[in-house]
């Protein structure tokens, strides 16, 4: 069994396994954010029994540092590009003898740079081959297929990056740091709840951000209420829904859902170009 901390790794493991003898465990409920999910003791017990535990690295899923996990069965799939992870803003505060200090974070949605996603898939394949002999037959071919799919996403994202060059995008949540870096996009982020109707103060913050940056595009992390899309359109924003897929999509899989998001961004780029 391969245990995974997010849906992209679960999808990669399912593609790479190639046999029903190897199961893939992704225990996060569909309505929870895997980045902040807290497992139960029963979840940890099941994960501890896995042949391989696939971590995303980059600080994704902080529960992995809060339980005993067998080190020989862990694979940090972003280790090969750890030097180029993106640091996020720090929280500064003070207390007691520690004085004022900061806690910096790391952007953790690494797979939104599809070349990095391919690297993660390769690391996972190497670890699966080492830990689970049953996957060895045909593994390299399955990995090649998966890499080809990811690099096709990469090529489409490159085209979108080119088409949206010079356009500022606003994301409803800070998830897209690696997507922006990989494809040359300027993305500034809000901190809105996924799928919820923003409050008046949040709309005001968006208007202020538009004034300050000249942003023309709004990326929704999850489909919002219809009235929210109408209100954003009234502000003059072009919009696209782009779930980062940390959790399993309601329909389709990683590839089809990611293609749909990129297609939506592509259509939006065309519309902006013809306006």
């Amino acid at each position: 069994m391969v245990a995974t901390v997010n849906y992209p790794l679960a999808y990669f493991a399912e593609r790479l396994a190639g046999t029903e003898q190897v199961s893939v465990l992704f225990p996060v409920p569909a309505d929870r954010d895997p980045a902040f999910w807290r497992p139960t003791i029963a979840d940890i017990s099941e994960i501890q029994s896995a042949d391989l535990i696939a971590l995303n690295g980059a600080g994704f899923a902080d529960w992995v540092a809060r339980a005993s996990l067998p080190r020989a069965r862990l694979v940090d799939t972003s280790e090969l590009f750890a030097e180029t992870l993106i640091e996020t803003e720090s929280i500064t505060h003070s207390h007691g003898a520690d004085g004022e200090h900061s806690h910096t974070g790391t952007a953790s949605f690494t797979w939104l740079d599809f070349e990095q996603a391919a690297t993660q898939a390769r690391s996972l394949a190497t670890a699966m081959e080492r830990r689970i002999p049953a996957v060895a037959v045909g593994l390299h071919a399955r990995l090649a297929d998966l890499e080809a799919d990811l690099m096709a996403l990469d090529a489409e994202a490159e085209d979108i990056g080119t088409a949206l060059s010079g356009v500022t995008l606003v994301a409803t949540h800070p998830r897209y740091q690696y997507f922006a870096r990989a494809y040359g996009l300027e993305i500034v982020s809000l901190d809105w709840d996924a799928g919820a109707m923003p409050e008046d103060a949040q709309w005001q913050a968006l208007s202020d951000l538009m004034s300050g940056t000249g942003a023309e595009v709004l990326i929704w992390e999850a489909a919002p209420p219809e009235e929210a899309m109408v209100r954003a359109a009234d502000l003059g924003l072009a919009q696209a829904v782009f779930p980062p897929l940390a959790n399993r999509p309601a329909e389709g899989d990683f590839l089809t859902a990611m293609r749909a998001s990129l297609d939506a961004l592509g259509v939006l780029a065309l519309e902006l170009a013809t306006d």
Partner: protein, 124 residues
């Protein structure tokens, strides 16, 4: 021979603590406090440390069972640690141990039945 085994077990445990506390400090949302718990000589040992390396001198330790029901609340000792007897129920169910050292510094450790059994085996 027994002394050698105990020495190795202590060394291994110290390594686990260092790895756990160091690893926890690298989390994207680690907020300054790292917690580790293990079983030794029939007791649950809880250790807390700020990511700066400083030991919290006070704090509240909340113990939850496998259904995440609060079963006990205790105070952290001045050395940033706490020891309490392992009950039969905890041995069967495992524990979630949360330490709140104030100012938003709160963290937890999940101790599974397998961890507890390994701790009991290692300490004889």
């Amino acid at each position: 021979m027994t002394q050698t085994f105990e020495h190795l077990a202590r060394g291994f445990r110290a390594l686990l603590i260092a790895l756990a506390l160091g690893f926890a400090a690298s989390g994207a949302h680690a907020h300054g406090l790292n917690v580790f718990a293990f079983v030794e000589n029939g007791e649950v040992v809880v250790e807390a440390r700020f990511s700066s390396g400083r030991v919290p001198t006070e704090g509240t330790v909340r113990i939850y069972d496998d259904a995440d029901i609060l079963v006990a609340t205790m105070a952290l000792s001045e050395d940033g640690a706490l020891r309490f007897p392992l009950t039969g129920a905890a041995r069967e169910s495992g524990l979630r141990i949360e330490v709140d050292a104030g100012s938003g510094h709160r963290d937890y450790w999940l101790l599974t039945p397998a961890d507890i059994a390994a701790g009991l085996d290692a300490s004889g």
